[in-house]
Symmetry: C2
Subunit: 200 residues, 2 copies
């Protein structure tokens, strides 16, 4: 809604974890507590959690929180909107001085978790992104992720860590292709009782 773009390349994600369980609050708080968030600015309210910082840490923290919640084996959905380039406010800019070493990767890279996701990419600021996206989609397929077309989105079925890695690459490459404002929405579902089929 804000028409003014800043120059900071700080990335951010507005996300929520939805545990479909009576003990949802406990699951969310436990997940948040298991993740090292010291390289990102972070704020949680009653609707979403916001993380801001360098791209690798934004993906590291969001994927680690989702995986921590999914370890409970409850049906968990992650919904996030990744954004870079606009509206360009300066909250959290100090975190841009962090290095690129992901703090949570060593804890999560060996976790195998089958997930079903849908993502959409909105390059709002131009750029020559289509070839980039096709290349990244092929890279995801090479990682064993099943890619299919859905209405308004692209569906990804595969291991959570690999899917997040693929999404991070799509986001980085779209930004690198010249889009001054890139938005990517992601819905990822794990431990669903109706996985890969219509709800019965």
């Amino acid at each position: 809604m804000d028409n003014v773009c800043g120059t900071s390349r700080i990335a951010g994600c507005s996300f929520s974890i939805y545990p479909m369980a009576d003990k949802f609050k406990e699951i969310i708080l436990d997940a948040l507590n298991q993740v090292d968030t010291s390289k990102v600015w972070m704020e949680t309210d009653d609707v979403t959690t916001l993380v801001r910082g360098r791209i690798p840490h934004v993906f590291d923290v969001t994927s680690a929180i989702f995986l921590a919640a999914a370890k409970t084996d409850e049906h968990i959905v992650f919904n996030g909107t990744y954004s870079i380039g606009c509206p360009g406010d300066s909250t959290g800019d100090v975190y841009m001085a962090e290095d690129e070493t992901k703090l949570n990767m060593s804890n999560i890279k060996d976790i195998r978790l089958e997930t079903a996701s849908k993502f959409s990419l909105y390059p709002l600021g131009g750029g020559n992104y289509m070839d980039t996206i096709y290349t990244q989609i092929e890279n995801m397929r090479a990682q064993g992720i099943t890619v299919s077309k859905s209405h308004y989105s692209t569906r990804l079925d595969g291991n959570a860590y690999d899917v997040f890695a693929g999404l991070e690459h799509v986001f980085i490459e779209t930004e690198a292709s010249g889009s001054s404002h890139t938005v990517m929405t992601v819905t990822m579902s794990a431990n669903s009782p109706s996985a890969k089929g219509a709800i019965q």
Copy 2:
């Protein structure tokens, strides 16, 4: 991801209802069963539900399903991406012949439900939309909705039915302002134990 836009003005919403309760599946199915979806094309898989049709019916059906689920008093979150104008595939085009009379409005318009929402509007196809949005925001305030700025989104606190009505107007007016492809993302939370405060 699809760069080809069609000419059909069919609208759609890819959405999910997240009941934070062990009986989430029962709540979702009960809600779906309570709503008249005969004026929209609809398909549910394990990640999202898609509705497509004329704008009034897409909002009527999505808001009615959310309200039906929220009647359980469980903590329920609605997450939806409304889209019009692209990729312009033809699925559900037959529903464009329906009239504008909303089938579920009489059942839901008197329900009072306090909600907290965040929405973002992405006019991907140009258009002169900023004045339109400010006018609609003022209309929402006049309806008793509290409007505030959040990172990457606008926050709305108020009665569910009024908030959905406001969002529908923003969407319609943005499209009318000349945006050839409009996307709006909405996260709406009801019955949250941590409403209007940080999660404790």
